[in-house]
C-alpha cells in the first residue's frame, strides 16, 4: 500500500530502547556454536561422547542470552572445556578445517589469582565481535578455555600455521598459494598480539603458537612453540 508511511511502520527499536519489545537485533558476521566438554566419568568414556554441542547463535542479543544462563568457567568441574567455534567446525584438530591449523594459547597457573570469567568473556567478545583478526585474514576458527587441576588454559585456533594448505586454492586467503609465507606469518603474529592484549598479559609473559599436528605427533599439547608473542 503506497499510502503507508514506511517511517512509522519501520521504526527501529533496539533492546536498549525496550528490552522486552525490540524489533531489531545486532547480527554477528558469523554463526557461532558453543560446545562443552564434559569431564570424563572415569569409566573409559569416548572423548567424542564428552564433546557436546550446546547452541548456535548469530546475534549479539542471543549471545548474551546464552552467556547469562550458563555456568561461568570458574564453576566448571576439572577437565571441562568451553569451545566457541564458527558454525560447522568441530573444536578438534582432526576436523578437516582444523587439521592444517594451529593455536595460540596461554596457561594461567595461579587459578585463584586470575579473573578467568572476565578474561574468557573478553576472548569470546573479541571472537564474535571479529576484532581478533583483520578483514580478509580468514584465520580464526574458534576460541577455547580448558579447566584443569593446575591451570586454566585459553586458546585461539587458526585455520593454518601461516602457510598454504592442501585445497587452499591460489588466492591471497588463509591457506592459499597467493598468500606469501611472510604475510601468513604476520597475520598469525597479529592475532597472537591481539589475543595477548585481550588477556591483559604483561609484556614479559609469553603466549605460544603451535601447529595442531605438532601437538598430536608429540602426544602432548606442550609441543615446541612455533611462534611466540
Amino acid at each position: 500500500n503506497s499510502d503507508k508511511k514506511p517511517e512509522a511502520s519501520e521504526e527501529q527499536i533496539t533492546v536498549f530502547h525496550d528490552k522486552d519489545n525490540f524489533n531489531v537485533k545486532h547480527p554477528l558476521m558469523h554463526k557461532w556454536t558453543l560446545w562443552f566438554t564434559k569431564p570424563p566419568s572415569g569409566k573409559g568414556d569416548n572423548w567424542n561422547d564428552l564433546l557436546k554441542e550446546v547452541i548456535t547463535f548469530n546475534s549479539v542479543e542471543e549471545f548474551w542470552g546464552v552467556y547469562n544462563n550458563i555456568a561461568p568457567t570458574s564453576e566448571l568441574a576439572l577437565k571441562s572445556d568451553y569451545h566457541l567455534f564458527k558454525e560447522g567446525v568441530r573444536p578438534e584438530w582432526e576436523d578437516v578445517q582444523n587439521k592444517h591449523g594451529g593455536k595460540w594459547s596461554y596457561q594461567f597457573k595461579n587459578k585463584h589469582a586470575v579473573p578467568i570469567d572476565e578474561l574468557w568473556l573478553q576472548v569470546m567478545l573479541a571472537a564474535i565481535g571479529e576484532t581478533l583478526e583483520e578483514e580478509g585474514d580468514g584465520e580464526l576458527m574458534g576460541v577455547v578455555v580448558n579447566v584443569r587441576k593446575g591451570f586454566y588454559r585459553v586458546g585461539v585456533w587458526t585455520r593454518t600455521i601461516g602457510k598454504s594448505i592442501p585445497g587452499g586454492g591460489d588466492g591471497d586467503v588463509a591457506g592459499g598459494k597467493g598468500r606469501s609465507i611472510e604475510k601468513g606469518k604476520d597475520i598469525l603474529m597479529n592475532i597472537g598480539k591481539k589475543f595477548k592484549d585481550v588477556l591483559k598479559l604483561p609484556e614479559g609473559e609469553v603466549v605460544e603458537f603451535s601447529g595442531h599436528t605438532d601437538s598430536a605427533h608429540s602426544g602432548s599439547t606442550r609441543a615446541k612453540a612455533k611462534y611466540t608473542v
Binding site: Q12, T14, V15, F16, H17, K19, D20, N21, F22, N23, V24, K25, H26, P27, L28, M29, F36, K38, P39, G42, K52, V54, I55, F57, S59, V60, E61, E62, F63, W64, G65, V66, Y67, N68, N69, I70, A71, E75, L76, A77, L78, K79, S80, Q122, L125, A126, I128, G129, E130, T131, E135, R148, K149, G150
Partner: protein, 98 residues
C-alpha cells in the same frame, strides 16, 4: 494445603524471547540509532568496509552494554538442555584428578 498435582499450563515464551525470535537483523551499523546513554559501536572498526555495509565488527565496550539488558534464556528448553549437558553448575562434581 494439598499439593496441586494437575499439570500446569505450558509456559509461554517471555516478551524478551519473543522479541529475540521475531526481531529483524540490522542491515547496517547506525550510530544514530542508540539512546544517548549507549555508546554506539566504534566506527573505526568498520570504516574500511563501511561502503559495502556488510561489516559488523563490535568492540568489547559496545558488546558489554548488552550484558544486563538481554538476560533471557535463548529458548524455552535452554535450561533443561543445559542441565543435561553441563549440569547445574554446582561444584559437587569437581574432581581432584588432573
Amino acid at each position: 494445603a494439598p499439593l496441586n498435582t494437575k499439570p500446569v499450563e505450558a509456559p509461554q515464551p517471555s516478551a524478551a524471547l519473543q522479541s529475540l525470535k521475531s526481531a529483524r537483523f540490522l542491515t547496517a551499523i547506525n550510530p544514530a540509532l542508540y539512546p544517548s546513554s549507549i555508546n554506539s559501536p566504534n566506527p573505526a572498526l568498520n570504516s574500511a568496509v563501511a561502503a559495502k555495509g556488510k561489516s559488523f565488527k563490535y568492540d568489547s565496550a559496545f558488546l558489554m552494554q548488552f550484558q544486563k539488558v538481554f538476560t533471557e534464556k535463548p529458548s524455552m528448553e535452554f535450561e533443561s538442555q543445559i542441565k543435561a549437558l553441563i549440569g547445574d553448575g554446582d561444584a559437587g562434581s569437581a574432581r581432584s584428578a588432573s
